[in-house]
Symmetry: C2
Subunit: 104 residues, 2 copies
């Protein structure tokens, strides 16, 4: 997957990771709702673009609002990468693998 480095890079910024975590915890939110004092709206807008282009966020338009949410596949992609190397960090996690496969 040549997607993975891009996914990791997109999450490799504290502001963007915080955006993703809020969306994962609270569900769909508008750009404005995700706004934080520390960073200006244009800067936020660029972060959204990076996350969208990495395939991590989807945008939905509602009047002037832009509503963002996380694409489950993005999180899943990371989960699968970790599981690919599960033997490395014990083997007691083999059940996870089964669970993941059952879900497909």
């Amino acid at each position: 997957m040549p997607q993975l480095p891009t996914t990791f890079a997109a999450l490799g910024n504290a502001t963007r990771l915080a955006i993703v975590e809020r969306l994962l915890a609270e569900g769909e939110l508008s750009a404005g709702a995700l706004q934080v004092d520390k960073i200006t709206p244009p800067a936020m807008s660029r972060h959204f673009k990076v996350l969208r282009e990495a395939g991590i966020l989807v945008q939905r338009v509602d009047a002037q609002r832009r509503l963002y949410s996380v694409k489950p596949e993005a999180v899943q992609e990371i989960g699968e990468w970790v599981l690919n190397f599960r033997e490395f960090w014990t083997g007691s996690l083999d059940r996870l693998d089964a669970a993941l496969k059952a879900e497909k």
Copy 2:
């Protein structure tokens, strides 16, 4: 964990991700063994440094050689992050959570 963005950033580079994947698949390897034609030794050396400082690799010295291997905790950290949001990508993965907890 303020570690996570750093971890993701370190893996957000194709060369570094390839290094980590080789080490996960093949185990401990020397800097020389990880060398690829595309990139010069000094550039590789800097990548090792980034990965070390992110807490993803450990270095072991053997004569002139530097032997690298992956710290399991780094991979685990990512796995736990994914599991924290497991509800998001179904719920059929609750068993994973149990497995992870049992391991601690």
